[in-house]
């Protein structure tokens, strides 16, 4: 009797989650395969050198997306807020560093030596700090008072903050793209027929250093542990004597540091910036965070890389007018079919 009941139960739940789930999965795989097939034909058409070239660009783009995505995912992990202003903090990083570069004595086409590297490092540090101060202030002014309000309230505030920052940068730099000083040396190496510039290498190395540093920090440091504890259960963390306000502020601080670094590297690579840069880049980075499973730091890093690959390959092999559509379609599909992210890691549901 009980066995029969259990069998019925199991069949019911199998039917429900299994069948529809599997049908959706199959649809998804078919779509991905179709895309890969199409991509494959284009890749063969354009030859291996082009493929490698696109791949190197994609890695650099992906690294920048990953840096922004980390901020989204950390903030979401800890207070379950989509910090819409985060993309604009990234854009602010680009603008601020554009102004700082001449201030720190760097100029286009100069000779490079150990001292110039130090100068550039100083630009990095100051920009990252400025972004951090900005992001922490945003949290303090706009989000903290609403921490116990219904979820809609901080989300709307975040959108408002994003508009405010974009407005401020619009006021500062005007509606059109501004030139970003092209200070990195114009050196490049040829690897297997593809060109790799100093720009790409700078992006790769900086990103690896920052992500490894972040991982160590989250894993080892007291504050990192406090962050993980707070993300899991804020009340319990508080009972354990963790200063919640400080921990959340630290999360915003670190997220902004990474986004600021991303902003500088975006500027250094593309030598252009525009006031609403943060909106589009932010959305892609947010997609990356969702893709990797929002709240999951490693997921965000991997998601950033994957989105960088998808976007750059699409731009390289298909009509770039559609690349945003593709990105957003991916965003929607991931949320619908894999709300916990493509890595399938469990996110604490609350």
């Amino acid at each position: 009797m009980g066995a029969v009941g259990e069998a019925i139960r199991r069949r019911r739940s199998d039917l429900r989650s299994g069948l529809t789930g599997r049908a959706l999965d199959v649809g998804l795989y078919v779509l991905i395969l179709a895309f890969l097939f199409l991509l494959g034909t284009r890749v063969i058409e354009h030859g291996p050198d082009y493929l490698l070239q696109i791949f190197f660009f994609a890695l650099a783009n992906g690294a920048i997306y990953a840096l922004i995505a980390l901020g989204y995912t950390m903030v979401y992990g800890i207070i379950e807020l989509i910090n819409f202003a985060h993309g604009d903090v990234f854009a602010f990083g680009a603008f601020a560093s554009a102004s700082l570069i001449p201030l720190f004595g760097l100029s286009e086409g100069q000779v490079w030596g150990p001292f110039t590297i130090l100068q550039l490092l100083a630009v990095f540090v100051v920009t990252m700090l400025l972004c951090a101060v900005l992001n922490v202030s945003i949290e303090r002014i706009a989000y903290r008072p609403l921490r116990h309000a219904p979820r809609l309230a901080p989300l709307i505030t975040a959108i408002g903050m994003s508009f405010f920052l974009e407005g401020a940068m619009f006021l500062w730099k005007g509606p059109s793209s501004v030139h970003y000083p092209d200070v990195l040396p114009d050196l490049s190496f040829t690897i297997l027929g593809a060109r790799v510039g100093v720009k790409e290498i700078t992006v790769w190395i900086t990103t690896i250093v920052l992500v490894v540093g972040l991982a160590l920090f989250i894993d080892r440091s007291r504050l990192g542990k406090a962050m993980r504890a707070t993300a899991q259960d804020r009340d319990a963390a508080q009972l354990m004597g963790i200063d919640i306000d400080r921990t959340i502020a630290a999360t915003f601080f670190i997220g902004a540091v990474l986004a600021g670094a991303g902003g500088i590297m975006y500027g250094l690579s593309y030598n252009t910036a525009v006031f609403d840069l943060g909106f589009s880049a932010g959305l892609v980075a947010f997609t990356a965070a969702v893709f990797g499973g929002i709240g999951n730091i490693y997921g965000a890093a991997i998601g950033g890389l994957v989105l960088g690959l998808i976007r750059t390959f699409w731009d390289g092999y298909f009509d770039s007018a559609w690349s945003d559509v593709v990105i957003f379609a991916i965003l929607i599909m991931v949320l619908v079919f894999r709300p916990t992210g493509i890595l399938g890691m469990r996110v604490p549901e609350k």
């Binding site: 009797m1 009941g5 259990e6 139960r9 019911r12």
Partner: protein
């Protein structure tokens, strides 16, 4: 209350069969089997964390059981969506009162009427006569329910502004508005004064008289022993006893696991 009150029959209205609920590695309810008979007050007792509310959540579909079957009036309902369970005729209250705080008492009850109403989108959009008629009917019925539980004087107050006892009663009235044949009460007497407890027992009696079977979780032994016909005792997710209040009271395992700790 729509159901005519008849003689209590021995037919099971709800049957749980080898119900188990796991949360990850933790077994909250382990292989529980019992049935609730039509027209009785059935109590589920046990120390904190015994899995009582989990069982309620399993029956009402909020958190479906991991395995086992739940049969209501001969129909398998394990894994059925909560709203469907309510439509089938099981209503519940919550341990930590979950009223719609910023709706008035009447409106709270009207939400309970929702699944018994027939107004379609068009009826509501254009306020067709049958919609108006239905609105009037359910509003009258809601007022009747408020009187039934004795809080009609707060009909138009926000639910959050009702006194504590009033809120518990309102939750019962809201559950009754779904016209259930089985009512699940999750610690209805929690935080009540002795006087209020007596009134609650009287209310449960009235509900029973109107033809609704009552299945309750309660900590207060006086209440449980006073009104329930049969009792199931849960401890750490295991069913350790089953029977009439006298049988349960004498059961050594219960005394050890539950009563022993309490007294």
């Amino acid at each position: 209350m729509q159901t005519a009150s008849g003689p209590a029959s021995d037919a099971a209205i709800l049957r749980l069969d080898h119900v188990t609920k796991r949360f990850g590695g933790l077994v909250a309810v382990n292989d529980v089997t019992f049935d609730v008979r039509k027209g009785e007050v059935f109590a589920l007792i046990g120390p904190n964390g015994a899995g009582k509310t989990t069982l309620f959540n399993g029956v009402t579909g909020l958190i479906p059981p991991t395995s086992g079957s739940v049969v209501f009036e001969g129909r398998e309902i394990a894994g059925t969506k909560p709203f469907k369970v309510a439509e089938l005729g099981i209503a519940r209250t919550f341990q930590n009162i979950r009223l719609f705080e910023y709706m008035s008492a009447v409106e709270n009850i009207l939400v309970g009427e929702h699944c018994r109403m027939h107004a379609k989108l068009w009826d509501s959009l254009f306020k067709l006569p049958r919609e108006r008629r239905e609105e009037k009917e359910v509003t009258d019925h809601a007022m009747e329910l408020l009187r039934f539980v004795g809080i009609e004087r707060w009909a138009h107050s926000y639910a959050r502004n009702l006194p504590y006892g009033g809120q518990r009663r309102l939750e019962i009235a809201r559950a009754l508005a779904t016209r259930p044949r089985l009512l699940l009460l999750d610690e209805p007497a929690a935080g009540f004064t002795p006087q209020e407890k007596v009134e609650l027992m009287r209310l449960v009696g009235k509900i029973l008289d109107s033809g609704v079977t009552v299945f309750l979780i309660e900590h207060d032994m006086k209440v449980v022993m006073g009104i329930s016909k049969r009792i199931v005792v849960l401890d750490h997710g295991e069913m350790i006893a089953h029977g009439t209040p006298e049988e349960v009271r004498r059961n050594p395992r219960v005394i050890e696991a539950y009563l022993g700790k309490q007294h």
